[in-house]
């Protein structure tokens, strides 16, 4: 297993994919938090709104970590390197486990950076407008370290999605669509899932970073639920990769 892990670590370090995703993520966190910083002062003064604005870091960290995880498999299929990967590592489930482990590790870094940037830029934007930040140390810790946990687990979900979908463009679009629209539509009044919506994986990720405590699960509950999603997706992905022919 150590050989598969070391190989996967080098695989992900030896292209610019992770770095490119990381840069795009930081840019979007900056943009999203700054734009939210233009909200009316009376709204931005509320703790609830501040958590949501600062929590843009968690959301984008989870999104980009999921894309990274998915690409760890779909890029190999797209470029054909999956063939030589499976020739040297014929125990394919170990390859998938190594991809989950490395993606979770890098994903945690994504979440940590995105969470910290979201908090930093948010606090600076509010400070510049003279609005008091009403968050305490516990809120900050959850926003930053919760973002790391949420992104790490979403990276695991991403690997599973990549292994099951295999085709890169649909896999990435699927992840974006789910986090940006589909889950919101399902959870919203439109479909009427109502409070069931908090058990969806994007909502669980928001819960991990301490957002919307009235509506969402508690952070620890969210973490356990999201970890279950990640384990289920990764397991399904490993089984699918082991059984299906490689084209």
């Amino acid at each position: 297993m150590r050989a598969e892990l070391r190989a996967e670590l080098l695989r992900q370090r030896s292209t610019r994919t992770a770095l490119g995703l990381f840069g795009a993520m930081l840019g979007l966190v900056l943009l999203a938090v700054l734009l939210h910083g233009l909200l009316p002062a009376e709204s931005l003064g509320e703790t609830h709104t501040q958590l949501l604005v600062f929590g843009r870091g968690e959301f984008l960290g989870a999104l980009f970590a999921a894309l990274l995880g998915a690409m760890s498999i779909t890029a190999e299929i797209r470029h054909g390197t999956i063939r030589s990967t499976f020739l040297v590592s014929p125990r394919r489930e170990r390859v998938v486990v190594a991809k989950v482990a490395v993606s979770v590790l890098i994903g945690a870094g994504f979440g940590l950076a995105a969470g910290a940037l979201g908090v930093g830029v948010g606090a600076a934007a509010l400070g510049a407008r003279g609005i008091d930040v009403r968050l305490d140390g516990g809120d900050y810790a959850l926003l930053v370290f919760g973002a790391a946990g949420a992104a790490a687990l979403w990276a695991g979900i991403g690997v599973g999605v990549g292994a099951l979908v295999r085709n890169q463009v649909p896999a990435l679009i699927g992840i974006c669509a789910w986090l940006l629209f589909v889950e919101g539509l399902l959870a919203g009044d439109l479909v009427g899932l109502g409070t069931v919506g908090r058990f969806l994986p994007g909502a669980a990720a928001a819960a991990v970073s301490g957002q919307d405590p009235q509506l969402l699960l508690a952070p620890a509950e969210g973490f356990v639920l999201l970890a279950s999603y990640a384990a289920a997706w990764a397991l399904a992905g490993a089984i699918a990769m082991s059984r299906r022919d490689v084209g």
Binding site: R6, R11, H79, L87, V88
Partner: protein, 254 residues
């Protein structure tokens, strides 16, 4: 036409004792839905030979190689290397090296890093990366991204990956595709030298003139069936060329 050469000709020589053939393909069948890509195919290879695996496009050559290499599961029968299914081999890279496609690289990764990932996964010393880069004469370009490589350089990088584990069997799918004359000449010499050291090569091709200069045994398949196999010199006796034999057997005579 019945050009079948005796099966015994392809089995290992008896004096060596009960040595397993390097490759044993037995009643191999592979179906994709209604399409039968490989149909009850049987052949074996003995060590020290360069065997041309010949057939028209779509005959089932690549499918057979994929099953042999554990990338696809057979629908029936089996394809064994050294008596085992590929996925059951311990450290397969030390026994079998393979190149299936000439473009199986991430364009943004350097040739050296590509080989290093394979060496790590195969638990091979990193010195092997330098060895094979020297062997395929790719050292000057090793730290460049593969996107800057010519087709010939990519072919050689693929070959370097296959040779990392110093394997006993080399499996190549259409390795001469897109190579310039110097590249073809280099590959031919390389494969002959490889086999002279008692190792085995299975090389698929539909370029018959080239194959005739490189291989000493052939297995010809058509529409998933074996239509001939044996020593090249026996198949081409009476002054016939490999092309004559091939076209006659695969029913593509003009």
């Amino acid at each position: 036409m019945s050009e079948r050469v005796d099966e015994r000709d392809l089995l290992p020589p008896p004096p060596d004792g009960a040595r397993d053939p390097v490759v044993t393909v037995a009643s191999l069948t592979k179906r994709y839905g209604d399409l039968v890509a490989v149909d009850d195919l049987t052949f074996s290879l003995r060590s020290g030979t360069v065997t041309g695996f010949l057939g028209p496009n779509g005959a089932g050559k690549t499918t057979t190689l994929r099953v042999l290499l554990g990338l696809a599961e057979p629908s029936g029968g089996e394809a064994l290397a050294f008596g085992h299914r590929y996925r059951e081999l311990e450290q397969p890279a030390r026994r079998i090296g393979a190149v299936l496609e000439s473009s199986d690289f991430h364009p943004g990764r350097s040739g050296r890093d590509h080989l290093r990932t394979l060496a790590l996964a195969a638990r091979l010393p990193s010195s092997r990366v330098d060895d094979v880069l020297a062997l395929v004469e790719l050292e000057p370009a090793a730290d460049r991204r593969v996107r800057t490589y010519s087709l010939g350089m990519r072919q050689r990088l693929g070959l370097a990956g296959a040779l990392l584990g110093d394997p006993e069997l080399l499996v190549l799918d259409e390795p001469a595709n897109g190579l310039d004359p110097a590249g073809v000449h280099w590959l031919r010499r390389f494969l002959r030298r490889f086999a002279e050291r008692g190792r085995t090569v299975l090389v698929s091709s539909h370029m018959l003139a080239e194959a005739a200069q490189t291989v000493d045994h052939v297995v010809i398949i058509d529409r998933g069936h074996r239509v001939a196999s044996g020593r090249l010199e026996e198949l081409t006796e009476h002054g016939r060329t490999l092309e004559d034999v091939f076209l006659g057997l695969t029913g593509t005579t003009p």
